[in-house]
Amino acid sequence: MASMSDFLASHWLGAVLLLLSVMVMVFLRRDRSAALMCSSSIAAFALGGFFLTGKTISLDQVYNFGSVLMGFSVGCLVVQVGTLILGRIWSWQLAFGFSLIGLFAMGAWTEADLGAQIVEGCRLIRSIQFTQPIWLLLLGLIPFVIALARRSLSGLGRHRKWVAIGIRSSIVALLVLALSEPRINRLSENVSVIFLLDRSQSIPQEVDHEANLVDQIDSRWQRTREFVRNAVLLRGQVHERDRAGVILFGKRPKLALPPASVRDKFDIDDRMAGPIDGQYTDIAAALKLALASFPEGVGKRVVLVSDGNENRGSALDQAALAQQNGAEIDVVSVAPGKVTDEEVLVQSVESPPVTTTGSRLPLRVLLRNTSKSRVVRGLLELVRIGLTEDGSEKIEQVAIEQDQPQVLEAERGKPARILLQPGLNSLRYRDIPPKPGETSFSYRATFTPISSGLPSEDGRLTDVKMGLPNDRIANNRATSAVVLRGQRRVLFIEESVGGRSPHAHLIRTLLRAEIKVSAISPARLPAEPGDFSLFLTNFDCIVLANVPAEYFSRDQMEAIRTSVHDQGTGLIMIGGPDSFGPGGYQNTPIEEALPVECEIKSPLAAGKGGLVLIMHASEMADGNHWQKVIARLAIERLSAPDMVGVMQYGFGVGAAGVSWVIPFQTVGEDKSRLLAKIDRMDPQDMPDFDPFLTAAADTLANPDHNLSVKHCIVISDGDPQYGAAGQAATAKMAANSITCTTVGVATHGQAESTKMKGIAEATKDGRGNPGSYYEPKDPSQLPSIYIKESRRISQSFIYDKPFLPRHLIVGGMTEGIPKQLPALRGFVRTTYKESPLAQFRIEGPPIANDIRFPILASWQYGLGKAIAFTSDARTQPAENITGWDADWVESDLYKKFWEQSVNWALRPVEAGRMTLASEYREGRIRVTLQARDERDQPVNNLELDAKITVPRALRPGEPIPEITFKRKGPGLYEAEFESEEAGTYFVTVQGQRISGAEPNGALFDTARTGVTIPYSPEFADLDSNLPLLKQLADLTGGRYFTDDPESLTQLAQSAELFRNAPKTSRAYQSFWYWLIFAAGILFLFDVGVRRIAVEWIELRELGRDFWNRLRSTPEVQSSLTLEQLQRRKMEIDDKLERERAVRRFESSSPINEPAPPIADALPIARPVAPPQHRTTPATSETPEDMMSRLKKARDRAEHKRDQSSEPDRPT
């Protein structure tokens, strides 16, 4: 019975049609054959739907049975028409039969769908709501429209009049409906399910440690993936239109798969979302992203697969929001009740904040063994990390105190072997720190587990297992707070040339001035931003002496910037061809800290450079990728007024294949357009260099571009031909001071290298220097080559002629330096920063009086001071090397100038009058400051300016945490700030005494401290946070599941997760614009109906004539005598006349009309002429006839209008 009702539900249309066919048979008795045809057609359609819906037939492939039948019937009908055309044979019966088969097939195709669509349509119509129903009153206009139209359209004849009236009324009705703003109110039955999968490191992994390393996969993650995949793919037919998406989250959520109604594939992969920082868990952010990702108008469900250990954000707050939004949170709790035992955490390294000289420093390392019963044996190492004289890291072992029960074996200079009891273990150390004033240092403790076992009564271990399988390495290490002291040390970063310092003379001069200078090459700096920040705290001033920006990572530069801004370190950039603009410091954090901008804003000053890049497909692995990297770098390094063009060999772009990826053009401020073009570049294998070199030479030599530096770079495997035309091009380059650098990438042999070297050497710049040839062996060398090369273009930054600098401000750092300065022989052009803090002390030669360039500029940047000296310090009298400052070296001011400059920039001396202590507790760092004056009396009237450096580089626009000290007691100040990140936080405080209400400007003292959060709280959590997960589910009405394999499988198969959402969402869809559109179309019809009259009789006659000619039924024609035909013609003429008389635009004057078509169609001369020779004047004349009538009507109307407008014309 149920199946019967199901059948009827899907085939109700078929049933209705069948009923209709019976009714037609019963009620249409007058015309038996018509009734039979009609009802059998309807029945065929209905029966097709009944019997063939969804049926398939397998021939060579599986086909829909309906389609096969349809094909058959259409094929047969085509054949029949063919035989009709060729053989004048036609059988109505056969045609009807085939049509019936066609209808039967059509029923199979569409009956069920059509029924469903009608039902859906009815539902839609029922759900229409009107936003402005008041407008519906205007529907009352329709009767007036009809009344008016009846009168005005009475000339159209009966049928056309009613059609026109109908159309007009519809237009009015549609416009009224549109005004009332109808919208469909659909009750959404679909659900969108977004799976939030926790990828943080607190989720315990299930790895078979016995297996090979390769086979060690996390089966828990595999299971979760499988579960999500099955849950989505097995959600069943009913939920087919439901959507599913995936968000992976750790510290930040990432939308791996946006919600979509997937059917066949739903595989999740970690790679989909890019790297995920698993150090933290932010369920709240993931929920927020999920809520934002839900499509409109569907039920919303989040399936959260997590252990609930959140350490950022508040998931409960977001859950409340989700509840308001009608979203449900189902929770799958990962490893509920699982406690991460057999794990050792190094909880902290405690060291006293203030060290007293010479005394032994008590230290304590706290370790937690999380196992309830097992003891763990392992190695504990505590090291002091300091700094050697040359600036590199110095690590020394700290000795453990022997007389502790946990210590099994302690050898000097080696990690101690210890035994950890279950629970908290405290281990004591003692260290003699280095003398204060020498170096800063910190302590780091690291624990390495060896084995674990159950202690037995005889003191031996039973059930010994090697290693700690569940141990997480990340929490096996902790660092102490850093002890920081100012030492007036200068970090001098320079690149040594041939093992020698290019600034040796300056460094010696500074050392003579008793400034401690550590010269270091950028390659030896710690690469990790955290380590680099820690390293920088050892110095009070950083000097960047002619080092290009590419030697630093962005994070390193940011570390330098924050060290200046937040910790008061001084910064000096000394010029040279690799500094400032030509060194690529544009838009870097270091530029931000400098008192000058590295870009030259005025194109006048820049002296335009022109660069043409020629790209050849490389057979080197990733060669094409590197080409793009290089092209991008080269473009990024160019300044706005420079010009650039990129060529490649491309197919189908002219005989020579020269295709300009970037036509030669000015770089401009916005480089993104050019960079996008580079990304789309696809260089091909170039047959010869010649057309490219010719194009490059012609372009760069073009005097219209007005280029001061012209350069071309070719990157190739050396394979293309370099013929006579190419040699002519390189000769032209040499004549026009164009250099060409060639880079041989994966050349095939010496011959190719020689050829490319030949190209480079054939070109010459203005001074006769040839282009360079490079042959990198490793693609990663390519960028640095290109940077060096593109720097040739940026030589427009450099002014290298002697000039007399003008000393503008004497005093401060230039106190005692004469107003008249010796000449300098060059400098780098920069732009002075418009800031009240910046001081423009020495100036170089200006351009046109109003474009001025600083030689020495200084400013206060945050807590630190920064100096830009745009000339160089490369002169070394001892080695006979002369730089731009050769004349300064010889004068007396050299030592004085540099000593005063560096001293000005150095961080203020930490006199020890302020001491800082800091501690980390529950996500907050508390800093306590004690201030005492020279007589050891507490100082209460201090204005404290404090800055924090956070462990990671801030994103642009991210607010810097603020810190404010409040006085808590005599000379005691306290401040607190939130700290979530693992790593070292630095706090720097500068104190000024307040005299009266204002600070008196005199610095009381500065103090710094560092506090290290050893590891993310992610690793402190040992078990799942079930209460939170349950709360999330309860709050939003979701359900709670666990992740054991069996229940996951069941859950996936039950389609439970796709059950109807609690609050079925409504989707409102307005469609008034469609109504307007329809009204517009109808309006056209309205005009059409009134203007164009269809001669039904003519059409009928035409059709009959056509059919007769097809059949060429001679019986009929031969029976017509001429008289009969003429009589018929007269009849038709009369009829047409009557019709035309009622036509509106018909003129009353007689028109020379052609004879009615039927007249010409008469086979007058040859009544039984062969059909192929018959002409068809009727068909060719009818449209002409109608067109000409319309045209005449228009002419008459225009004529009338002209006449009527005549009197208005001015005479």
Binding site: F651, G652, Q721
Partner: protein, 308 residues
């Protein structure tokens, strides 16, 4: 109308349909007969195919992944894939057929000629020493063997010349230097033996075809850079059909030209693009016994077969 008449009419209808279809096909000659192949690294796919030769009813194709693969002339993968021993320095870029029906592979970047059996077993090799002296080779681009067993090898890059070897691999003669004059070359991409016993040379960067007798005597040259009929842009490969017409594939113009052996252009086919009937950087062609032309449509990673 009798039943037999109706039957006759029906048959007439079918015949006329067939005739119309074939007429339409004839009218749409510009599109290729067969287009096959797709980009991929699995067997049967290729990445930028660069040279081809036909042995019997199989076409051998080498691509930028250095794989030499065999296909039927309709594009069905014949199950043979092999590579030269080493291709880190570069991939083979010329294929030829010797008179025993073996496959000649120009291991271009290893300066040697390798001869493989049709199933991919290496039979012998010549050369292997880089250099400019006689018997040393630069970048080998193509090789043909004549009826008497002499091999003709073309090189470019370091040396722009043709070397004639006897069947033991001993140098008989060499000719050609870099240049633009008669008998001078800039990048010989391919060789073909004409039915007239002459050697036709695709002098790619001079955009011309040069003709020599088998001892290196210059006979004639034709072509020149351009887009018009009879001119060439980077002619990269050439071959003769059984009726003695010369076909040249032009990389720059993305077309095939049919010429008389004297260089008079008869017809051309192809235009730049990626639709069937369009070519993207075609590098090579091969002509089978029926005179059908198999064009290696390199940047479209496919083969198009046409017949003029």
């Amino acid at each position: 109308m009798t039943r037999s008449m109706r039957l006759g009419l029906f048959i007439l209808l079918i015949i006329s349909t067939a005739l119309i279809t074939s007429a339409i096909r004839g009218g749409l000659r510009s599109s290729a007969d067969v287009v096959w192949g797709k980009r991929g690294v699995l067997d049967g796919d290729f990445v930028r195919p660069r040279a081809a030769t036909i042995i019997g009813d199989r076409i051998y194709i080498v691509d930028f992944t250095a794989r030499i693969q065999a296909f039927s002339l309709d594009g069905e993968y014949a199950g043979i894939t092999f590579t030269t021993p080493d291709f880190r320095n570069g991939r083979p870029s010329g294929l030829g057929t010797d008179r025993d029906g073996n496959l000649i592979v120009c291991d271009s970047h290893y300066h040697m000629l390798r001869i493989y059996s049709p199933s991919g077993v290496e039979l012998r090799q010549f050369g292997g020493t880089a250099g400019s002296a006689v018997g040393e080779f630069g970048y080998l681009s193509d090789c043909v063997q004549d009826g008497e067993g002499f091999y003709y090898l073309s090189e470019f890059g370091q040396n722009d010349r043709i070397t004639k070897l006897d069947r033991e691999g001993q140098v008989v003669t060499t000719w050609g230097v870099n240049g633009t004059g008669p008998g001078e070359f800039q990048r010989i991409r391919a060789l073909a033996l004409g039915p007239d016993g002459l050697i036709y040379v695709a002098d790619a960067c001079n955009h011309r075809i040069q003709v020599f007798d088998r001892d290196g005597g210059f006979v004639r040259s034709f072509g020149g850079p351009g887009r018009e009929a009879g001119a060439f842009s980077y002619p990269y490969d050439l071959a003769f059909d059984p009726s003695g017409n010369l076909y040249v594939v032009e990389r720059g113009n993305a077309r095939i030209q049919q010429l008389t052996p004297e260089g008079q252009s008869l017809r051309s086919w192809g235009m730049p693009g990626s639709e069937p009937g369009q070519l993207a950087d075609p590098w090579a062609l091969a002509i089978d016994r029926q005179g059908r032309i198999h064009i290696i449509d390199t940047e479209n990673h496919r083969v198009q077969r046409i017949s003029f």
